[in-house]
């Protein structure tokens, strides 16, 4: 009888522990995704495995587009089973990637330009003008605008999706908060806002921050990385705006996705932790949130995979 009770207690304890573990995981079921050829995938001898995912974008069907800086490829992953559906090589080192109405805008560090491909990988055209380091890209389909973070140019360059260069954010000639070392970008088209992550400048004592501008390049507000105890950050990278308007940001040093309330700027929750185990992140560089499901996908660069936090983007 004693043994039976002990066994029952043990099972009960294990169940409770598991429940606590899940709760501590911020309610999201995590999934480590290597990105592999599924049974139905077309085999290609030339296609290397995904090794250094940098930026990520998603289309309306839930496909994920991932740039791999090391392999010089753009991968298309199925967002549900992570089968590699397609991959194409880029002539140079790809950084930013954004899906936009059947096109893929790819920032090429080597050619210092933004190249436009169809989803099969056929080059269509270039956006006009040089971008010193096209580190991240966002696309507004309604307005037909492409926003490109120029890391070395310390600005966001805005293009017509057909090619012509339009203007720069922050707006020039206006005394306002500038960009110091911008890295990632996301859009909130509903509010007409451009959200940019900025490393700041350690030597000049300018802390890292998320900076928000309107579409014309006028500064609205920022969320500082040096203010909130549990939400301090210093190496911000990719951003996403979630279904409820919250701002998702990866910190590449901490190995975490920090979620901030858009209105108050307060930290809401954290996804992931530093490490190599499933659900853990090492040098994460970008994040997307699926609008319908709230699934959060993170390029887990140093772990050579994409990480999924199922439902992690829901409030």
């Amino acid at each position: 009888m004693k043994t039976r009770n002990a066994l029952l207690l043990l099972i009960c304890a294990a169940f409770v522990t598991y429940g606590i573990f899940l709760l501590l995981g911020q309610g999201a079921v995590t999934e480590a995704v290597k990105g592999s050829d599924g049974p139905g995938a077309a085999k290609s001898k030339k296609r290397p495995p995904l090794t250094h995912p940098v930026r990520i974008s998603q289309d309306l069907d839930g496909n994920l587009f991932v740039s791999d800086y090391s392999q010089r490829f753009i991968y298309t992953l199925d967002g549900s089973d992570f089968r590699i559906k397609k991959a194409f090589e880029v002539s140079g080192r790809p950084l930013g990637v954004a899906w936009g109405k059947g096109r893929l805008f790819v920032g090429n560090e080597t050619t210092r330009s933004v190249e436009v491909f169809n989803t099969s990988g056929k080059m269509q055209y270039n956006l006009d003008g040089e971008v010193l380091k096209p580190t991240d890209i966002a696309f507004d389909g309604e307005r037909g605008l492409v926003f490109v973070v120029d890391g070395y140019g310390k600005s966001v360059k805005v293009f017509d999706a057909k090619g012509p260069f339009l203007y720069v954010i922050p707006k020039e000639g206006v005394p306002q908060e500038g960009l110091v070392n911008p890295t990632g970008i996301a859009l909130d088209p509903g509010r007409g806002e451009v959200v940019v992550s900025d490393f700041g400048d350690t030597i000049a004592r300018i802390p890292a921050a998320i900076k928000v501008y309107d579409y014309d390049g006028i500064f609205r507000f920022k969320i500082s990385g040096a203010v909130q105890g549990d939400f301090l950050f210093s190496r911000p990278q990719g951003l996403a705006v979630g279904p409820a308007g919250n701002v998702f940001m990866v910190d590449s040093m901490l190995g975490k996705v920090l979620v901030f309330d858009r209105t108050s700027g307060l930290g809401l929750k954290v996804l992931g932790s530093f490490g190599t185990e499933p659900g853990q992140l090492k040098l994460p560089l970008d994040v997307v949130v699926a609008p319908a499901t709230g699934d959060v996908f993170v390029t887990n660069s140093r772990n050579d995979r994409v990480e999924a936090f199922r439902g992690g983007g829901l409030p």
Partner: protein
């Protein structure tokens, strides 16, 4: 009395920490003051003691999406070579704090060579040959520097020591081993990283 013991204990602790510190602090690189690495808000526990955390920290700036113009990655041999698969991370070659003096009396550049013993001279702990001196004072002729004391100068100074940073570990490569065997004339004195890029794991 209690206060005295407390002060004494604190003094012993601080002395111990200073003595045990592997590297003396102070960054030679003007772009990196202490807070650049040591004031990472909320960094993981034991942040700067674990190699993988240090590697991540370096790559936050020197990795693909980082803000530095100096791109880097760890040293690996992704495909089978003469060596078993290996990964040499940033601190395998670089001292995170100082450009160190080398055994020939000069000073290394680019933080190459670590303090690994009481001499404080620039050295590398190699898998094949134990702790070796390394001399790296020039980035080679492609960068407009002298060939002497560059990545691999083929023992240009004639002291029979192959101490270039690309030579000190190699014992099975075709070129530039840390001993007289093999070839020592391949692109000697040139900037190895032009072809064996730092950002592509030094794989050509």
């Amino acid at each position: 009395m209690k206060r005295l013991i407390l002060i004494l204990g604190l003094a012993i602790f601080v002395t111990g920490v200073i003595v045990l510190l592997p590297d003396e602090p102070g960054a030679a690189n003007p772009n990196h003051d202490c807070s650049f690495c040591h004031n990472i808000h909320g960094a993981p526990a034991l942040a700067l003691l674990k190699e993988e955390v240090v590697e991540t920290l370096c790559l936050t700036c020197h990795g693909p999406a980082g803000i530095s113009t100096q791109k880097a990655d760890v040293h690996t041999n992704d495909s089978p070579t003469q060596y078993p698969l290996f990964t040499i991370t940033c601190t395998g070659c670089h001292d995170s704090h100082n450009d160190r003096d080398n055994w020939l009396g000069g000073t290394n550049i680019r933080l190459v060579g670590r303090r690994l013993d009481s001499t404080g001279l620039a050295k590398v702990n190699t898998t094949s040959s134990g702790i070796q001196n390394t001399v790296f004072e020039s980035r080679g002729t492609n960068e407009g520097g002298p060939s002497l004391h560059s990545f691999a100068d083929g023992d240009e100074d004639g002291n029979s020591v192959y101490d270039g940073i690309c030579e000190v570990c190699h014992t099975l490569t075709k070129h530039h081993r840390n001993n007289p065997s093999g070839g020592h004339v391949h692109q000697v004195g040139r900037t190895c990283t032009r072809c064996h890029e730092h950002v592509t794991n030094f794989i050509p």
